[in-house]
Each structure stands twice: as structure tokens, then as C-alpha cells.
Amino acid sequence: MKKLLATLLLGVGLAFGGLNAVAQTTTEAPAAVAAPAADAAPAADAPVAAPAAEAPAVEAPAAAAEAAPAEEAVKETVDKGDVTWMMISTILVLLMVVPGLALFYGGLVRSKNMLSVLMQVMVVFSLIAVLWAVYGYSLAFGGEGLIFGNLDKVFLKGITPDSLAATFTAGVMIPEYIFIAFQCTFAGITCALIVGSFAERIKFGAVLLFCAIWFTFSYIPIAHMVWGTGGYLFDKGALDFAGGTVVHINAAMAGLVGAYVLGKRIGYGKESMAPHSLTLTMVGASLLWVGWFGFNAGSNLEANGGTTLAFINTLFATAAAVLAWCVGETLGKGKASMLGAASGAVAGLVAITPACGTVGPMGAIVIGLVAGFLCLWGVSSLKKMLGADDSLDVFGVHGVGGIVGALLTGVFSAGSLGGVKGDDYSIASQLLIQAEGVVITIVWSSVVAFIAYKIVDLIMGLRVSEEAEREGLDITSHGETAYNR
């Protein structure tokens, strides 16, 4: 981020003639010319203070700063189209969590635990949102550390409506507030995803405490390492457009470790634990698909051609994965199921997440097909091998799909396979970097999660009592019933 923010150079004594040459913007550039920035603060940290009244829509200051190299002296502009798209994207990601993910998960549990899952998803998201504002954003995007950012922006200190964040195009900026909000929804959905692994048996308080700890020591550092300027994997060139490692592998490992640490649900493998409403699961999966356009295409931070690439990939990969899952089920068990189609959609969405910005539409379809088949294997054969009661198959879908996506991103980003990378792109060396990102995420998240579960267990215990589990968490943890007759 700092590097990005550094492009917000506060100019002192601008040479406008030179500026106009580089100002390629669709906004009212000429209007900005009259607006000199008076602030002489050092370029690195300072959020841009908008030049007084003259040109509020356009950030004039770009500039000819003291030590800055000439090529960074690009004019900074904020486009209303970008800002609008980012606000819509943020809302779409929120739609993925509540109600999307909540319903997807909720339909999969027994009716006596419906509300507990809805509650865990909604409240975890809310908790992480507040923590994000307090310290999460600063630690993830506040500095150029190898693993963490810094604490310069705790409580969103120093950020104003005029503060800007960089996009992938030099000089094109978006307001920092929407960047914070957009990233906030990512942190929130990642923690909410974990809920699926230990559903139907965990204490409500334990969920919240665990998520707070894991968010701080796993989500934030992985997000910074992958997306933050100076982050270890970012500097290595790992490709993770919208969060295959940061969101999906990260959450899946925390979930899988949780399934082991908490143990199996009472009656697992003996009693029927059939989903209570696949209708709601289908509704949830569909909302996830819709919302995922914000997640993936929004990750481009602008509304341009690259955004539409992520958009179209999100459409095709998902459709391919739905088909693959249904074919796999038909070949294996003779019937294609609604749950299979819904799971296939999520698997495809997960797999295309890291790839959506750099692969072509045909690459996306292949990624979707592979993810559909492999995640089906993940929730059946692999699940049996692992021997953990991962209640709602967070690992089988998000873990397997995330790994498939992260690795195949390295393959299909190649220009020869329809991706956007040029001739100097080496599939083999990129695959190695992708694999490194996957392994780091797996190990890091697992270790942090294990320690976090143990801490929570010591403080308040993880599991509800056997009686409470049998009666259902809706009544015993929340004092209400999902379906009254």
C-alpha cells in the first residue's frame, strides 16, 4: 500500500506543462490544473489532503516531488465509475456473506442448529468488520513489512474522505474509504467460512474468540504477504487475484484443524445428519455466485477491461464446475443432485478466484471443470481419508478448490494458454511460486489455528455439553427456534 500511496505524491510547486502530458484521464483534467497542493508533508505516509475548493472530483496534487523519480509523477485521478463499481462490489461481497453463505451453510445443518449457523456467520462477520476498522486494516495494508503492515492507521487514523488508494493503473485512484470497506468484507467472509467446519457443536463464544485470534495472526499476515506492498509473496510475484490463498485455503485449513481439535459430532456416521433444507442451500449458493462478481471483478479495483475479464471468468468457470460435479455424481452414484450442483458452483467460484484476473475464458472453463471433479472427490473420498468431521466440507470445497485454483492460475495465466501473461512468462517457475504460496498458507493457517483453538479451549472450552448438542444449539445457545409451527 505504501508504494501505492507513495504515488499520491503531494506536489510542491507543480510544473503543469509536464503534468498535462501524462494526465490521461476521463475526468475533467483541465479543471484540476488550477489546483495546487499546498502541503509539503513527506510523500510516504500522508493521505492526500484534497486541494481546497477548486476541484473536488479530481485529485490534483500528483507530482513533481522532491526525491520521487520522474516516472512516478503521474497525475492522480478518481473516476466516478470506479468509485461506484467498488461500492457495488463491496455490497455484493456483503451479499455473499449475509445472507448467501449463511443460507448455504444453514440449509446444510439439521433444523435444530439452523439459527446457530446463521448467527455465527452474521456475528463473526460483524466482529471482524469492527476489528478491521480498529487495527486490521492498518496491520494488513498500513506498511511495507514482510509479514505485517504497521499500526500507523489504527482506528483509521488520518484517513479522510479525500484519502486515496491506488489501483492497478498508475494514477487512477479510488477513495481509501471504499478500499477499506471492500477489503473489510474479504476479512469478514474468510472468518465466516470457517464456521462450516465446526458447525453443530461449538460454543458461540468460542467461535467469536477463535475468529478474533485467528483473524489477527493468520488472516492479516497472509493478506499482507500476498497483497500488501513489501509482503513476502507479493514481492515474489505470486498470483492471487481475488484471494484463493488469502481467503479460501486460509479459511479451509483453520476449519479442518478445528474439525480435528473439536472432534466429531455426537452420532456422526451413525445417525442421519441430512441437510434440513437444500432449498435454502440452493438459494445461498446462488447468492454466492451473484455476489462473487463483486468479489472477483471488484478485486480489479477499477471498472475497465480487466474487470470484465474477471467478470466473465467468474461466470464461465462456475458454470463449468456445476456441470463437472453433476457429471461426476452421475458417473459415480448414478444421480446428479441439487446439493451437488450447488457445491459445484461454490467449488468453481473458489477455484477461479485466484485466477480470474489473469487467465482467459477458456482457461477458466478448464479450471472450473477440474475443480468440479476434484472437489467432489474432496468431499467424498478425501474426506473419508482425512477422518475429520468437517461438518459442511469447508476443506473439501474451499481447501481443495483453493489449491486447484492457485496452482492452475500458474498454468493458465500463460499467454499461450489464453492468459494475459506475455512471452517472458514461465509456467514452471510461476507454478513453483504458486506452490510456495499454497504451502505457506497451509502451514501458517494450521499452526495459528491450532494454537488459537487451544487458547480458546483453556479460556472457555470449545464444545457445548452433550445434552445441548443433542437438543440443538438454537435453543441451548440462543434461546429460540428456527421454525415454529
Binding site: S272, M273, A274, K333, S337, L339, G340, S380, K384
Partner: protein
Amino acid sequence: MKMVSAIIKPFKLDEVREALSSMGVQGITVTEVKGFGRQKGHTELYRGAEYVVDFLPKVKIEAAVDDGLVDRVIEAIEGAARTGKIGDGKIFVTDLEQVVRIRTGETGKEAL
């Protein structure tokens, strides 16, 4: 007086009701029930988990009738509920000691 109760396939309920009311049965009670008999259940598959569903949904109807009507009631239910396939259900007949119509206080046959 006899109490005739029958377990039938749910989709046969309307036919049975028509057959009974057309022959003068004044009222029946219907309950949705589950159970097992010789008809096998089925298996359901949710991702990797397979569950055997032993209890199948059925409908139970109960009719309190006068002794003279019992045979015809049984015949009517049989005729209307039969598909000839396994799982058509069963009819149980038991003695009924007393009947009271709550509104009027009538008892016995008068209350049927």
C-alpha cells in the same frame, strides 16, 4: 361399534375419503405418519454421506362406524387404496366401547 384405522399411501387419501363419504361415513380423522413395513426404505446421498431412510411417510385414517357398516367400510378402503404394489398399507379394526358427541352429549350410536 368399531374403530377402523388404516395406513395408506398418502396420494390415495382423496380416493379413500370419497369412497367413504359416498357410502355414508360421517367423518374421519387423518394423520400424517411414518413407519416401516415390508416395503423397503431408500438411501439418500449428501455429498459423501449416505443415509438409509427406513421410515416412509404414510397417512393414517381413522373412522368410527356402526357394526353393520364395518365390512363395507373395509371393502371401500381396500378398493380405493389398492395399487397392487408393495407398500399399500394395512387396515386395523378394533372394538369401540363408547362414543360421545361433545356438543350435544349424545352417546353411543347416536353420536356416530
